[in-house]
């Protein structure tokens, strides 16, 4: 039987990193995700698997350490919360431009600015549209349980290495701070240098006799060369959009209305669905698991045939723009969400469905 533990979402990220054989974690503490670094320091994985854990001097330093580690073909990651993730945007753009795999978790808190330490989902644009400069995309996974916080660390690395692209785990203070059951997987060994040399010819592991230079850069002074890079990136992004869309459908058979919600809002919306069912309102939930690539097709298929769609997010309305693009104006689409660190209640969501969609 798998080992079962009651864990915080943040602790689950840290534990998963150790067990899947991550080579390096570079981070800087910030509420509400400091338990990631705390758990790693308590577990001392450098004694078990050889994993490096380092508290950097800032988030800017953390992301550039990740950049360096990733260039060597190592499994490296960092975690932060909103203001810290903003500091990392230059690095994110460089890593995406240099086509390197890494994992970054953002345990979102209320903004803008230093904001608050309570949960929020207002970093959706930053994660899915590119918080840094240039035409780049980050594979963005949104866990809605502590188990998914654990599982998505491994999945993010798998996708990041498959496509040589950074992956983001976009969570929030609610999932980060809450405790739930987690089934832990067995410890895996870290990749050996031989394995990295053999598998990732792009990795800068020192020049071997049988191959040329590996050059990792995001700089091309000639515009036509940089356009070629961009065309290659765009081709890769279309491939990711074709192959990596993930979502969950809950009570979607026979639904008159839909909630579209991810992460903690998906959990709260499920409770709102229970309340709606008691009143005889048939509402289903489409839960995007990947926010980029966005599950446009299924939202279009189901949503256009419904009587209306409510996008629920702890923000002033970010994901709703992608939902509207999917629905193409065929049925009513509205947004509901508390923000700035306030968590909406199930009753508020149901009330918004009634006033904005059913009666609106």
């Amino acid at each position: 039987m798998k080992e079962l533990r009651l864990m915080k979402g943040n602790e689950a990220i840290a534990e998963a990193a150790i067990r899947i054989g991550v080579d390096g974690y570079f981070g800087y503490p910030i509420t509400p995700q400091s338990e990631v670094l705390e758990h790693l320091m308590a577990e001392k994985p450098w004694e078990k698997t050889g994993m490096v854990v380092l508290q950097a001097e800032s988030e800017v330093a953390s992301i550039n350490m990740v950049y360096g580690g990733a260039a060597c073909g190592k499994k490296v990651m960092t975690t932060s919360s909103s203001p810290g993730f903003s500091l990392m945007q230059e690095g994110m753009s460089y890593i995406a431009g240099a086509e390197l795999p890494c994992v970054v978790a953002n345990v979102v808190r209320g903004g803008p600015g230093l904001g608050t330490i309570q949960p929020s989902q207002a970093d959706y644009f930053q994660a899915t549209k590119g918080g840094g400069h240039g035409d780049y995309k980050l594979i963005t996974l949104a866990p809605s349980t502590v188990q998914e916080m654990y599982d998505f660390v491994g999945l993010s690395f798998e996708l990041a290495f498959k496509y040589r692209n950074p992956a983001i785990i976009l969570s929030d203070g609610l999932i980060g701070q809450m405790m739930e059951k987690v089934y832990l997987t067995e410890y895996k060994e870290r990749w050996s240098d031989e394995y990295i040399n053999k598998t990732f010819p792009w990795a800068t592991t020192g020049r071997a006799a049988d191959r040329g230079n590996s050059i990792i850069t995001s700089l091309q002074l000639q515009a036509d060369k940089q356009e070629e890079v961009n065309l290659r990136l765009q081709k890769k992004y279309r491939e990711i959009e074709d192959n990596e869309v993930r979502y969950e459908l809950i009570n979607c058979e026979d639904a008159d209305y839909y909630f579209i919600a991810y992460g903690s809002s998906a959990r709260i919306s499920q409770k709102a669905m229970e309340l709606a069912a008691e009143e005889g309102i048939k509402v289903g939930l489409i839960r995007p698991i990947t926010l980029w690539p966005f599950p446009t097709k299924i939202i279009r298929e189901l949503g256009q045939k419904s009587k209306g769609v409510l996008s629920v997010e702890m923000s002033a309305g970010q994901m709703v723009e992608d939902v509207r693009l999917a629905i193409e104006g065929k049925v009513k689409v509205e947004h509901f969400g508390r923000f700035g660190g306030v968590i909406h209640s199930p009753a508020e969501i149901l009330n918004a469905l009634k006033t904005k969609i059913i009666g609106g």
Partner: protein, 183 residues
């Protein structure tokens, strides 16, 4: 069965750890559980609360605004959560330091003088286990043997010698809780 519980009091009363022992005990009894603390500025030197859900089925929202049970350990929490108990639900409170008692007529109200009892027995640190015992007497959502397993899982090994005292405090709580109003 789904039991949605809020436990609220001062920081240092063991609110969060009581919730954790309850959640771990739920896991040992093969239930679904969630434990969602307040972690905002209020926990830094003021009130502290945690939402614990124990269920036979998948738990939807870990964050709630209405509860089956509110376990209230100070006046501020009573003021904040009395109206968050579902009609017909349960409110348990420690009267220590409370000068405005619960006024709802549509809920079950129980009193547990755990602060006084813990002081009398010289076991101030087991105060929260007395309260837990009182709750389990009124709502036996977890069987006793699983509380012991939950303690084993949630306490570090070096504290396992304290488990018998913890269980005794649970027993004390079961003995001293009293009904004020049942509906």
């Amino acid at each position: 069965m789904t039991e949605e519980i809020i436990i609220a009091g001062f920081g240092g009363q063991g609110v969060l750890s009581m919730g954790m022992i309850l959640a771990y005990s739920g896991i040992m009894q093969d239930k679904e559980v969630s434990w969602m603390p307040s972690y905002g500025p209020e926990m830094r030197g003021g009130t502290s609360n945690v939402t614990v859900i124990i269920s036979d089925t998948r738990i939807s929202s870990p964050s709630l605004n209405m509860f089956d049970t509110a376990i209230i350990l100070n006046q501020q929490s009573l003021d904040k959560f009395e109206n968050a108990v579902k009609p017909g639900g349960l409110l348990i409170y420690d009267p220590n330091g409370v000068n405005r008692h619960p006024e709802r007529k549509d809920i079950n109200i129980y009193q547990i003088a755990a602060t006084d009892k813990a002081a009398e027995l010289g076991i101030a640190r087991l105060f929260n286990m007395i309260v837990l015992g009182g709750f389990l007497k009124v709502k036996p959502v977890i069987s006793e043997e699983y509380i012991e397993l939950g303690l084993q899982k949630s306490l570090p090994e070096r504290h396992h010698k304290l488990i018998p005292d913890n269980l005794k405090a649970v027993q004390t709580g079961k003995e001293i809780i009293k009904a004020i109003q049942t509906v």
